[in-house]
Structures are given as structure tokens and as C-alpha cells.
């Protein structure tokens, strides 16, 4: 029993890393552009399809297909900024939400038209690693390590470059940022491109774990949203911490009971948080 719990804990940490990466882009976009990218999970779904398509139809080597998927998702992120967010930048919150929510429907149906409703995946068999009595799937370990490395790169980008500095200042006070010579439109494009590319990265790490279908993204949008709000909207560190909390709690609950109960518990935890501390773990009081 103890080994099982320990294993669940480790798996929870591994899951937490991937969830942290998943939530990061959504959180960044909210923090900087002050908009909730409702179709974020659908972006992961599209990224998955693009990698799948590049690999199977265009016969690209898998790593090249992944890189291609990441680039295409970055460009799609900018396209969302251009076609949907820019025209609605000063619109009421509800209109922005509805526009991005309708993007969910567009993207899911687009995927169905382009690739059909079948489950598709790239069969990769990755070994299971054994440490004593503990077994870890190497696909999860790889996703975890990749997620942490990507988050590290993002941290350096945000803290060591002028663009990163501009992104952080626009997130805090857009009017003063303008007065400092920053063009927020450019920063919004960079943020959406980064957020889009991140969905491509997440999709690449999901390839060995999942198969994709047009409604694959929905649960990830919800999961990312729960993590972001749980941690404090727009607070990147809060999102990072909450991803691990959610990962470990669901993983351990799944071992003790079932995965369905684990999902319920995660959402109950979320509701409790909203009642006790609506601004989330590290969020500022509104």
C-alpha cells in the first residue's frame, strides 16, 4: 500500500509538471492581455493533429513534425490575436468570452472536417522504468522533464530579455508601459504567439501518452482554467504551485478510489478554494 501511495505521489508530481506547462500559457495570456483564452485546450488538440498530420501524411520525422506543430500553433496564436482579440480589445468582457468560446466550436468542427471523428495517434512504445518496487512510465517522465525545461526557458525569457521585461510591465500597468515607449499591441502578439507555441509543446509531450479526437481539448481547457484560478489568475508562480497540488491530489485519490472520484475531488477542492479564498493561492485581492 505504501509503495502504491508513493508511486501515486511520484506520478502526481510528474502530472503536475505537465499541468503546470498547460496552465502557463493560459495564465500568461490572461495576465498580459487580460483575456481568457477559452479555446486553449482546443489549441492543444489542433497542435496534436498538426504533429500527427505532418508525421503521417507528410512523412516528416517525428521531431521535425513536432517542431513544425509548435511553429504552426504559434502562428495560429497570432492569428487569434489579429482576428478575434484585437477587434474586441475594448469590448465588454462578456463579448470577449463569447467570441473565444465560439472559437471552441469552430476549431472542433474544423478538426472533424479535416481529420474526421476517429481517434488518431502515433504509436510510440516507451519503456517503463523501475526503481526498486516503484514503476514509472518513461513517457510521463519525459513529459515532466520537458515541461520543467520549457518553464525554465520561459522564466529566463521573461526575466532576462527586454521583451520579457516589456511583457511583465504591460501585465502590471499598460498605460505606464505605453508611456515607457512600449507598444502593447506588439507585446500582445508575442504573448499569443508564445501561448500558441506552448500548446504545441504540450501536444508534443502528449503524443506518446494520448490519442487525439476533435473533442480532445475540452477537458484540458477546464483543467488549465481550474489550475489558473486555483493559483491566482495571472500569477504564474501560483499556477505552478496549484498544478502540482492538483496533480498530486488527483493521482493519489485515483489510486485510493477511482479516476472519476479523483476528478470530482479536484473540482470540489476548486470550489472550496473559491469559497474560502476567491483570489486563489497567490492572487491579489480584487
Amino acid at each position: 500500500m505504501l509503495e502504491e501511495l508513493l508511486m501515486a505521489f511520484i506520478n502526481g508530481i510528474l502530472l503536475g509538471g505537465v499541468l503546470a506547462l498547460l496552465a502557463f500559457g493560459l495564465n500568461l495570456i490572461f495576465g498580459v492581455v487580460k483575456i481568457i483564452h477559452m479555446a486553449y485546450g482546443q489549441f492543444v488538440m489542433l497542435g496534436f493533429y498538426f504533429i500527427y498530420y505532418f508525421h503521417t501524411a507528410w512523412h516528416m520525422p517525428l521531431l521535425v513534425a513536432m517542431a513544425g506543430g509548435i511553429v504552426v500553433m504559434g502562428l495560429l496564436g497570432m492569428l487569434v490575436q489579429l482576428l478575434i482579440i484585437n477587434p474586441l480589445l475594448n469590448a465588454p468582457r462578456l463579448n470577449q468570452l463569447l467570441a473565444l468560446a465560439s472559437l471552441i466550436i469552430v476549431l472542433e468542427n474544423l478538426a472533424q472536417v479535416l481529420w474526421g471523428a476517429d481517434y488518431r495517434g502515433i504509436p510510440i512504445s516507451m519503456p517503463i522504468i523501475q526503481f526498486g518496487d516503484i514503476f514509472i512510465r518513461s513517457s510521463y517522465l519525459l513529459a515532466f522533464l520537458g515541461a520543467i525545461a520549457t518553464l525554465g526557458i520561459l522564466y529566463l525569457f521573461l526575466h532576462k530579455t527586454y521583451f520579457g521585461l516589456a511583457i511583465r510591465s504591460v501585465a502590471q500597468d499598460v498605460e505606464i508601459a505605453k508611456g515607457m515607449g512600449i507598444n502593447p499591441k506588439v507585446i500582445y502578439y508575442i504573448t499569443l504567439a508564445a501561448g500558441g507555441a506552448l500548446t504545441g509543446v504540450v501536444a508534443a509531450f502528449f503524443i506518446p501518452i494520448y490519442t487525439v479526437h476533435p473533442h480532445f481539448g475540452a477537458s484540458f481547457t477546464l483543467m488549465a482554467f481550474v489550475i489558473v484560478v486555483f493559483g491566482g489568475m495571472g500569477n504564474l508562480m501560483g499556477g505552478f504551485i496549484s498544478a502540482f497540488i492538483i496533480g498530486v491530489v488527483t493521482s493519489i485519490t485515483a489510486v485510493l478510489t477511482s479516476t472519476e472520484v479523483a476528478d470530482i475531488l479536484a473540482l470540489v477542492l476548486f470550489i472550496l478554494m473559491m469559497m474560502v479564498r476567491p483570489q486563489g493561492i497567490l492572487g491579489a485581492k480584487a
Binding site: 527586454y162 510591465s169 515607457m180 515607449g181 512600449i182
Partner: protein, 234 residues
């Protein structure tokens, strides 16, 4: 250097500025005094491009800048110290300064400029890794002034730099303005504290409810009976 000619600025249907004209010459310190809500901040925002003037022209070094986006105006050499020393609270002191040098003209000199600023404001050097939000009101105002110097400006606009500060700190802020003046920066200072502002001014304007009502050099301002009673409290 800066010529503002008959600008009208609106917030929706509300007219905040009505035919305002003013001039700042090279190396000059010009002040705009007037009561709260007279449109002084709007004037600075309009010059910087944060607000659009509906009519009129704004020329800087002979070129029309009215209608340009703020980042283009900053590039040309105008910087602003916003009201209340509005700094980025979650960024470190150092990063706040670095944002000041964001425009491509200032960026190559950022390192040297920052060292100069640290020797000018040793307190900022001591706290360079601290979040700007943890500074006192006076320190925040200094940081906002220092940040505006980072963009290699030729004209610095200050919006109510003495607002909400203790008298001793206000004196310190005005000492710095005096020092910037000596270094040859052109300064456009907007203040409610007319007494203090007049001491550093070469030329002054009085604005009331969006309109220019009086202008003159320091002496004529000092001697104007209406200004004396209404703004200088003499």
C-alpha cells in the same frame, strides 16, 4: 523645442482641454499650475500620445507629433514621470529602470545610464533588487524620476511630483528637479503646489477648467494679484 498649438482634447463628450497652447524652449523649465481637474494631466497625456487631441497641433523639434502612438513620441525624446510616482510595483527597482530604457534609441546606453542614475540616487542602488512596491512614497517618486531619465530624453514631463509626499520629501524632489534643470534637460512640470513649482520655473502657465487663463515669466506670475491670492496663498 515643444510647441503646443490650440489643442482640444475630449474624454467621450466631455471636453478636457480647450484651445490650449504652450511652448517649452531648449533647457527651459516651464510649469503649468491650476486646480485639481483643470486638465493639467490631460495636457501631458495628450503630448505623450496617451490621449488624442481632436484639433490643434503638437510639434517637437519642428516635427508634428500629434497623433503619433506614445512609443513613437518616447523615441523622439519625450519622457514622463506619471502622477503619484506610478512605478511597476512587482518589478524590481532595477527592472523598473530597465523598462525606462526600452525604446531602441536609449537601449544601447542603458548600462551606462543606469550606473549614472545609481550614483545620483544611491538609495535606489541600495534597493535595486527590491520590488518597487515595497519602497516608500518618496523613494517611489525618485524611482519614477530616475526611470524617466533612462530613456535619454530631451524633454521631461512631470505630473504632480509633490502629490501626497511629506514636506521634507517634497523639498528633496524639487532639489532633483533643480539638478535636472542644471544638467540642461527641458522640463514641463505640472503642479498644484504653485509655490514650490514657481521657484524652479522659467515660464509659467495657469490652467483653469481646460483653458489657459494666464501666462508669464516667474516675476510676472509672482506679482499677479489673482494668482497671489488664489494659488500662492499670500
Amino acid at each position: 523645442m515643444l510647441t503646443v498649438d490650440a489643442i482640444d482634447t475630449y474624454y467621450g463628450e466631455f471636453q478636457a482641454l480647450e484651445g490650449v497652447s504652450l511652448k517649452v524652449e531648449k533647457g527651459q523649465t516651464v510649469i503649468v499650475v491650476g486646480p485639481n481637474g483643470a486638465g493639467k494631466s490631460t495636457l501631458l497625456k495628450t503630448i505623450l500620445g496617451l490621449q488624442k487631441a481632436r484639433t490643434g497641433s503638437i510639434k517637437f523639434q519642428g516635427e508634428e507629433i500629434s497623433g503619433l502612438a506614445p512609443h513613437k513620441v518616447v523615441e523622439r525624446g519625450i519622457s514622463m514621470v506619471p502622477e503619484g510616482g506610478r512605478v511597476f510595483p512587482d518589478l524590481s527597482v532595477q527592472d523598473n529602470l530597465r523598462v525606462g530604457s526600452y525604446n531602441p534609441v536609449a537601449r544601447p546606453n542603458a548600462q551606462r545610464q543606469m550606473e549614472q542614475i545609481f550614483s545620483l540616487f544611491p538609495i535606489l542602488s541600495d534597493r535595486k533588487r527590491q520590488a518597487a512596491g515595497s519602497l516608500s512614497g518618496g523613494e517611489r517618486q525618485m524611482l519614477a524620476i530616475a526611470r524617466s531619465l533612462m530613456s535619454c530624453p530631451q524633454l521631461i514631463m512631470l505630473d504632480e511630483p509633490s502629490l501626497g509626499l511629506a514636506p521634507l520629501v517634497v523639498n528633496m524632489v524639487f532639489d532633483f528637479i533643480q539638478q535636472m534643470k542644471k544638467e540642461g534637460y527641458a522640463i514641463l512640470l505640472v503642479e498644484q503646489n504653485a509655490n514650490k513649482a514657481l521657484k524652479v520655473a522659467d515660464y509659467a502657465y495657469l490652467v483653469e477648467s481646460g483653458k489657459l487663463v494666464y501666462e508669464g515669466d516667474r516675476d510676472s506670475f509672482d506679482k499677479n494679484p489673482y494668482i497671489k491670492t488664489a494659488y500662492l496663498g499670500l
